[in-house]
Amino acid sequence: MTEIKADSSIQTINWKITGVAGEGVMLSSKLVGKAFIRHGWASFTYFEYPSLIKGGHQTGQVLARPTTALNQKKTLDILLVLDKTGWQNHLDEIDEHTVLIFNQDAGQIAIEDQAKIKSKIQNLAMLTLAQQASGRPNNMNIVAFGVSSKLLGLNQTICQQVLKDEFADKDVKILEPILKAFDAGYQAITTVVTPITPVARKQLMLTGNEAVGFGALAGGVQFYSAYPMTPATGVMIFLAEQQQKYPLIVKHAEDEIGAISHAIGASYAGVRAMTGSSGGGLALMSENVSLASITETPLVILAASRVGPATGLPTWTAQADLDFIIGLGHGETQKIILTPGTVSEHYQLTKQAFDLAEKYQLPVFVLSDKHALESYHTLEITEPITQISKLNMAENLPEDNSFLRYQLTESGVSPRSIPGQNHGLHLANSYEHDLWGYATEEADMTAKQAEKREKKLTTLAAELPQPKLLGPQQAEISIICWGSTVLALQDTLADLNQGGINKVNVIHFPCVWPFPTKGFTQLVSNAKKLAIIEGNMTGQLQQLIMRKTGIKIDHQYRRYDGRPFYSEDIIAWINQL
């Protein structure tokens, strides 16, 4: 069998920058990613950074294509090194074609070290350039953007506009030196590595967190309470900014227990509410997830995974919380778990989460991870206006306040009233309760209420997003994935099937709970060889599939070192299957 290699006919730019925390390499990367977007290209901007504010080793990288760009890659076209030792961690990403610009103000690369680097090294005093052009050495990251723009053949005016927009809320006294720093970097380079042909289209550049925020707004969110925790914090920051533009309150809560409790209170009172956190914070929310379930209070929860256990690797990615979220909440807690992968899914599924939560009166999780949530993606603009359905409240309530909030129904969904509504009095109760809400320990009612809540999961199943088949209908290998892993797979599909062969297709789960047994078994019924990729050590989806369908998957690729999946590694894995 012929070995598959990356398809060299696909025009791809892979750019990277390294520096210590505080040098602003994340901003340089965002600017490069944005500059591509403004040229009509798609870009994916990925960051690696330690959990500290100054020092340490940080990187930002941008993958750009005139078509789509969904994931970072290894082999670099351009590498800018701002810190003296920044190149050390990336030797396997440098080949003879890589253009390496080394910031000589940081020192020199020793002769014996130069031999380890496959590419030529171009020295450039970027700190000095920043100092001379703008009077501020801090603008070295802007010089780096200028250098990169020229190397990449990006249009100078468009890049300047990117900067003007980035600093639109800042004083002109700040913007002027920044533009000077950019121009100094742009002029310092004479050779263009790859001339870019602009594409005529308008797109957005969003982090996964921002897409979740957009989805929440489009879903009618009016209350978001949270406690800062990487990688979920971005949603709180995004929504906090929107408070004056939309009818929305964002509450920075006292802790995660308070955060979810505030949201449950707001939702009980009738507004669409959401909270979000990562592993440890979600652990603190556990009892309240159970509460939302038994009181049948709608709630949307962003579960933003990072590496655990405990504090783990706070700023790195993992998909190790699937079992945890399925099990979150004691007793038999009813919930939905949506697992968006692409930026568009982060938007769409968060929006849908609000409809599902309100209609079925239960907690709905949007489970994602650092990789998808903190990276910048490209989103084609869709319809910016969405309709929010009217709150479905019980009608014709008896005047003697005998309305039965927890009535047993065929669908499991009971009519709902909210405070402020005449004659809708009821008790939302963390105790098991009767039809009105009063506590009961009676055996028959205990079982009936539990069954009623469970029944909702069957009723709603038809509305859930089903597993999706990507690539050819029939393929030699079907790779199963969930959440952000689809980014790497979808970005690699063209390589894997180049020349029109049907080597690989992908089965992606945008929702894992309630488990879509029917949709999944239908998709895999004709599969020749099944394989699965997961960002955890124990194969959590693989085991769930086994438990729910009895289907055994023989080939797996798991990663649990904090790093996301790379095309290069996926291709190597497929080659040895």
Binding site: K202, L204, P247, P419, L427, N429, Y438
Partner: protein, 287 residues
């Protein structure tokens, strides 16, 4: 539009408290306060913690939320932010509010959320059959502390005061007319109002019975107390020997949390529920 009456408040479930329990009188005083103030049925919400006090949830017919142990206050804050036209009252015990949920008490006070908190303070975990509580005395021997509790008791009034609660009062479960008045003042106060009620527990706290309290209780009014004087309020709260009742502190200039939010100046959050959302105004900064 109908206001709560004794009939409307009546639940089919009879109280399950022990004979002589202070909860009965607190319960009746709260009902009287609600009726006297003509609170609307539809606009009154009571949030209950878990404990003997929280069991009151079953004995009222109101919009109620019987939440988790310690976590009633943040639910109450959320309800009030979502619809500040509601009157939100929180019923909890000393274990619930001063133990498990102390962080939320401090938060509700610091944020001046417009809630009325009534704490049934009997210095015991009585629903779990009488363990030591945050307000129990040092050295107390209970089933969970057979060697004697080492912790100093928490001073809830002082905690509320230094956490910037704008209304802090103490009642005693035997002094019904005063309790009714304190509850009414607390409900009317525009901001966070806490009424700590010293409560008899004849089953699990026989030491702190009525004669024990009778030797220590005094009312603040008799001492010409000025509730607008924060320093005086704090020093009265810290008095070790006397257990004064009445309004320790009230900030007459209090502006509630929701009233400080620009989003809620024109209407409550629920009244602003969108029928349509247009993302266009914010899209441009992401393009």
């Amino acid at each position: 539009m109908s206001c709560h009456t004794l009939q409307s408040l009546a639940s089919p479930i009879a109280p399950t408290w022990c004979p002589g329990c202070g909860d009965f009188l607190i319960f009746n005083s709260l009902r009287k306060a609600i009726i006297d103030l003509q609170l609307e049925e539809k606009d009154t919400v009571i949030v209950y913690g878990i404990g003997c006090s929280g069991n009151m949830a079953d004995f009222n017919r109101v919009y109620g939320f019987h939440g988790l142990h310690g976590r009633g206050l943040p639910v109450a804050m959320g309800i009030k932010l979502a619809n500040h036209k509601l009157k939100v009252i929180m019923i909890g015990g000393d274990g619930d509010v001063y133990g498990e949920g102390l962080q939320h008490l401090i938060t509700a006070a610091r944020g001046n959320h417009d809630l009325t908190l009534i704490v049934h303070n009997n210095s015991r975990y009585s629903l779990t059959t009488g363990q030591t509580s945050p307000t129990s005395k040092k050295g107390l021997k209970t089933k969970s502390t057979p060697l004697g509790a080492i912790e100093e008791p928490l001073n809830p009034l002082a905690v509320a005061l230094v956490s910037k609660a704008t209304f802090v009062a103490r009642g005693y479960s035997v002094q019904v007319p005063q309790m009714v008045e304190l509850f009414k003042q607390a409900i009317l106060h525009p901001g966070f109002a806490m009424v700590d009620v010293l409560q008899l527990c004849p089953t699990f706290n026989q030491e702190m019975n009525h004669p024990w309290y009778a030797q220590r209780i005094c009312t603040l009014d008799q001492t010409n107390h000025n509730p607008q004087d924060f320093g005086q309020a704090l020093s009265k709260a810290l008095e070790p020997e006397k257990l004064a009742t009445g309004i320790f502190y009230q900030d007459k200039t209090s502006v509630a949390h929701h009233a400080q939010l620009p989003q809620l100046q024109q209407a409550s959050l629920i009244e602003q529920r969108p029928t349509q959302v247009n993302l266009q105004p914010i899209i441009n900064s992401f393009s």
